[in-house]
């Protein structure tokens, strides 16, 4: 019996190739898209789950609320924190501190600028980072030993065995001799701790100084704790206030809260500040998941509508089968089985597509996902295909099996109800497509807006060269480079600053005369900084080499700061803190976006030296505070200019690695998440439109086929081509209109929500909706008209004779 069904099914599929092609390709694209997103989401949600007893590992976060309600919330915490807590809390089994230090690593003549993780020896006990060479118990025991990942080992040592080899690691300004003690596996892509080098925490005092080990207010890294099996956070939280009071001192005012963030929670919890590794917004998993489901849904709807559209073809078979003895259940089973068969065929193609598309997808998503046929994903997708087949097949199966054989075999078949249902489905399909079009258009408009918005400076043609060395040496290199480059025709300006555009600038706060805590952002810059950036002064003057007091006393602030302090005439003013050394505002720069457009421009102070910071209470630094040289180049061949810079660097900073980046690219990287989402949306929307078009095309084919005779008769009665096209188009146009009316408010609402993430939002213009509507209407009409016109141009006599 099943062989009989299978034969009929396969022969039907072969006979109606276009229909089969549309069904199977549509579904397989849908399935492949879903699988890719599934891989993506699985990766996102599996972060840090590979540690043993991951549920017991927590990262400490500190929330400080001062007595005047200023809040500091960070996942970078003081090095004293974990040890102090472990002393008093038996619930804590072990602790690990993880901090990073960017500095130079030398092997023989070769120099690399690298990011080094400084960790406690408990690192390998608490976390699951297996070694390929060496022993976890001894790898970090000696302060002079260093662990490399396989990738790093290969980069530094090539094919040589690195074990026991010497390597020089510079900590702050001093080079130290290290020995490679172990090689670790590369960190998995779904890890919130990603290292290239590990050195023992013993070295931390050489980097951050002794005070970092006693102060609660110097924060340089992350603290992790592993609880005992019975350890309970609620109990810990009850004991914490007393313990903290003891260490912070009785006179500590305000609140100092220590939060325990489960390690598996780090990657997707946007309520906590980012730590050492970037985190991700769980909303993106949901958005992409929904979009993938939409694509699959559109393909499934094709399947349903096409099955129903072809039901007349199959009706006779149903009638005959009933007459020769089939009962309804058997027919339901047959047609349902056919649907599942089609979706399984689509699955095979979908799996192939997934494998083919994975490299492109990885590029888009910025991930290193891999797919193997023998994984749970395949099983999941099998299930997915099965469910799609079952769901998409149920209505056609019920509908077809319900035909009354007498009516069918007489050719007196009514398909009225199915038509209504079909219209609803097509309308729904259009709704999804229009929704996706609108979202894609709004997203790309916002992204274009972000990239083109006037930032208050000129981001084009600026190259940043991080010196990677301490201030004295950095400034010496800068002077040499400036001497060599400033008169070169390819160079417009050259300058430097501690922080470059696109990285977090330093944040400081102080208590003013009324004891209120007041934060401000700060950067330490060179005299030519604003000129190089092409930022605009709105009052006062720029820094000057001729006026020597500028070095220690002159500051330039931005408009946001002037506004915050309510100064009518800011020039000559000073920050109202009692501890600040002598200083005065010499100029006001127009607000420029030194941070991403997710945030507003915050009050900013620019100074030539760090003397002002002596009056600050807290200073928070996220990025490397080593000088960066900033070069504005003249338009021309960028490649030759970069080589010029490299040549000069090699001469002026021998033995130091040359790195560079373009400011505009760095700025674009700030919107990488959004850019990625936008690109994936582009793909999804194209797929969705493509699949619905194919469905519409074949539906139109069926509709026209069924009404060929009618078209013939109408033509003989004198109907013009337009009349006939109009007759067919009206129905589809109404559907599109209806879908448009439903999709628009929903898409508007969703996009409004998405835009709230940005401080600077593009206005959603009504043109986008109109465009989406007109576009889908045009696509629908072109698809339908093609078929109708073909039929209408045919000789009506042929149509009538063939009946």
């Amino acid at each position: 019996m099943y062989k009989n069904y299978l034969k009929v099914a396969l022969r039907n599929l072969l006979r109606h190739k276009v229909y089969t092609f549309i069904n199977i390709t549509g579904l397989s694209v849908g399935i492949a898209f879903c699988l890719l997103i599934l891989l993506f989401v699985k990766d996102e949600w599996s972060y840090d789950t590979f540690h043993p007893q991951a549920d017991r590992i927590h990262r400490l976060a500190v929330k400080e609320i001062t007595s005047d309600n200023q809040e500091y919330f960070g996942t970078s915490t003081a090095f004293v924190l974990a040890p102090v807590l472990k002393q008093s809390l038996p619930e804590i089994e072990s602790t690990v501190r993880v901090a990073t230090h960017r500095n130079l690593i030398r092997r023989g003549e070769a120099v690399f600028s690298e990011n080094i993780h400084v960790v406690d020896t408990t690192f390998f006990q608490v976390f699951n980072f297996p070694l390929v060479k060496g022993n976890t118990a001894t790898a970090l025991k000696n302060p002079g030993t260093i662990v490399l990942t396989e990738e790093t080992a290969k980069r530094i040592f090539g094919e040589e065995d690195p074990l026991g080899k010497p390597i020089t690691v510079q900590l702050r300004e001093t080079p130290y001799a290290f020995t490679v003690s172990a090689v670790a596996k590369n960190t998995p892509s779904n890890s919130s701790i990603r290292f290239d080098y590990l050195i023992s925490f013993e070295n931390a005092k050489n980097i951050w100084g002794e005070r970092a080990f006693t102060s609660f207010y110097q924060v340089y890294g992350e603290n992790y704790v592993k609880l005992t099996a019975s350890g309970n956070i609620n109990q810990i939280q009850q004991k914490l206030p007393a313990i903290l009071k003891q260490h912070l001192g009785e006179d500590h005012t305000g609140q100092y809260l220590v939060l325990f963030q489960p390690i598996t929670d780090i990657h997707l919890n946007t309520d906590f500040p980012e730590g050492l590794e970037p985190i991700s917004d769980p909303a993106y998993s949901y958005i992409l998941g929904t979009v993938a489901l939409f694509v699959l849904l559109i393909a499934s709807i094709n399947f349903i509508t096409l099955s129903l559209g072809r039901s007349i073809d199959r009706a006779r078979e149903v009638g005959v089968r009933k007459v020769v003895g089939a009962v309804r259940q058997q027919l339901i089973l047959q047609f349902w089985g056919e649907a599942v068969l089609v979706s399984l065929l689509a699955l095979v193609l979908g799996l192939a597509l997934t494998t083919l598309a994975l490299p492109v997808f990885n590029e888009l998503a910025g991930k290193k996902l891999s797919y193997s046929l023998f994984s749970t994903i395949t099983l999941t997708s099998l299930l997915l295909a099965f469910v799609v087949g079952l769901l998409a097949g149920i209505y056609p199966a019920l509908f077809l099996s319900n035909f009354n054989p007498v009516a069918v075999l007489k050719g007196r078949l009514q398909v009225g109800d199915a038509n209504l249902y079909r219209r609803f489905l097509i309308g729904f399909q259009f709704m999804l497509s229009i929704g996706l079009i609108i979202c894609t258009l709004v997203m790309s408009q916002q992204l274009r807006f972000l990239q083109n918005k006037n930032l208050g400076f000129d981001k084009e043609q600026v190259i940043i060269i991080p010196t990677g060395v301490g201030d004295n040496e950095a400034l010496r290199i800068f002077d040499r480079m400036k001497n060599n480059l400033q008169n070169h025709p390819a160079i417009a300006e050259i300058s430097h600053s501690v922080f470059a555009i696109g990285e977090g600038w330093m944040e400081a706060d102080y208590r003013d005369n009324t004891k209120t805590v007041r934060p401000f952002m700060m950067n330490i810059v060179d005299v030519d900084f604003l000129k190089t950036m092409k930022a605009h002064l709105v009052a006062g003057r720029d820094f000057s080499r001729e006026i020597t007091s500028d070095i220690s006393q002159g500051i330039i602030v931005n408009e946001a700061l002037v506004k915050e302090y309510g100064w009518k005439d800011p020039l000559g003013q000073r920050l109202p803190g009692p501890n600040f050394p002598a200083h005065q505002i010499i100029g006001v720069v127009a607000d420029f976006n030194y941070e991403s457009l997710h945030t507003p421009v915050k009050p900013l102070v620019l100074a030539l030296s760090d003397s002002l910071l002596r009056g600050a209470d807290n200073v928070m630094i996220q990025a490397s505070s080593r000088r960066k040289i900033m070069v504005r180049v003249k338009p021309g061949n960028l490649q030759t200019t970069v080589s010029l810079l490299e040549q000069t660097w090699k001469k002026d900073a021998p033995n130091l690695p040359f790195n560079y980046s373009f400011v505009d690219e760095t700025i674009n990287n700030q919107y990488q998440r959004e850019l990625r989402l936008g690109q994936m949306m582009n793909y999804a929307t194209s797929f969705a439109i493509f699949i619905s078009c194919m469905g519409l095309f074949s539906l139109a084919t069926l509709a026209v086929q069924k009404r060929r005779r009618e078209i013939g008769v109408r033509k003989i009665m004198g109907a013009s081509l337009q009349n006939i096209v109009l007759m067919f188009s009206k129905e589809f146009a109404l559907l599109v209109l209806f879908a448009f009316l439903v999709a628009t408010p929903i898409a508007y609402y969703v996009m409004q929500k998405w835009l709230q993430d940005f401080e600077y939002q593009v206005a959603i213009s009504p043109w986008i909706f109109l465009l989406a509507g007109v576009l889908s209407l045009a696509i629908a009409l072109i698809t339908v008209s093609y078929q109708v016109i073909k039929a209408a141009l045919a000789n009506p006599v042929d149509a009538l004779r063939s009946e």
């Binding site: 039907n12 007459v323 007489k410």
Partner: protein, 223 residues
């Protein structure tokens, strides 16, 4: 074998009832060869469908092999239909996607007959109808007469007691028609009861009795 008592069939559209069969009573004994005749629209097909249990009467009693069909549950009725009745149509109604062999096999599948036995029965039938050479062809590769031959073969393959044929020669030329009617005659002689609808006096003569319908009523025969 068949006993129809005061059968009515009507269709209602809105408030109007259109009567198709009016008070039809009819007895057909086992082994008879009955021809139903009458002008177009007189209700012949409707009557045949009711006898074949493809359609229900609106009113009246129907006994098949002395069992009350009008009181039966759907399942029981389709068992009866499946085991005892074969259908032949004017436009053959073969399944286009199946070969001759597979078309013949289909009714056996629905009777849950085992594979080996099925093969034997189909081979027998192909042989009996002289269409062994056509077994792997699809319906559209056959002439109308050949298709109808397959249609009849499919109707008899389950060895039904009753064959119902609705204008079986309507789409055939006269030579093909004669061949089909001879076949029916032979089947009837083997003991199969046959009820056919026909417009042709000549075809009707193959049967043992003629029932004339006019406007949904049986015309009294003056025989």
């Amino acid at each position: 074998m068949i006993k129809l008592k005061n059968i009515f069939k009507w269709y209602s559209s809105g408030f109007v009832k259109t009567f198709v069969l009016r008070d039809v009573s009819l007895d057909i004994a086992q082994g008879e060869f009955v021809s139903i005749m009458g002008p177009s629209g007189s209700g012949k097909s409707s009557l045949l469908n009711i006898i074949g249990m493809l359609d229900d009467p609106s009113e009246g009693e129907y006994y098949f092999l002395d069992q009350p069909v009008h009181k039966m549950k759907e399942k029981h009725r389709s068992e009866l239909h499946k085991n005892h009745i074969g259908f032949v149509f004017q436009s053959y109604h073969l399944i286009d996607e199946l070969t001759v062999y597979e078309n013949l096999e289909t009714p056996l599948l629905y009777k849950n007959i085992k594979s080996a036995e099925r093969k034997a029965i189909v081979a027998d039938t192909l042989d009996k109808f002289n269409i062994v050479g056509k077994k792997d062809l699809f319906p559209n590769q056959l002439s109308g007469g050949q298709q109808q031959l397959v249609g009849i073969a499919r109707a008899v393959i389950t060895t039904p007691k009753l064959i119902l044929a609705d204008e079986p020669t309507g789409n055939l030329n006269s030579a093909q028609g004669i061949e089909i009617m001879e076949l029916f005659k032979k089947l009837n002689e083997e003991g199969v009861t046959i009820v056919q609808v026909t417009h042709s006096e000549k075809n009707a003569e193959y049967g043992s009795r003629i029932v004339s319908l006019l406007d949904g009523r049986v015309e009294q025969a003056y025989a």
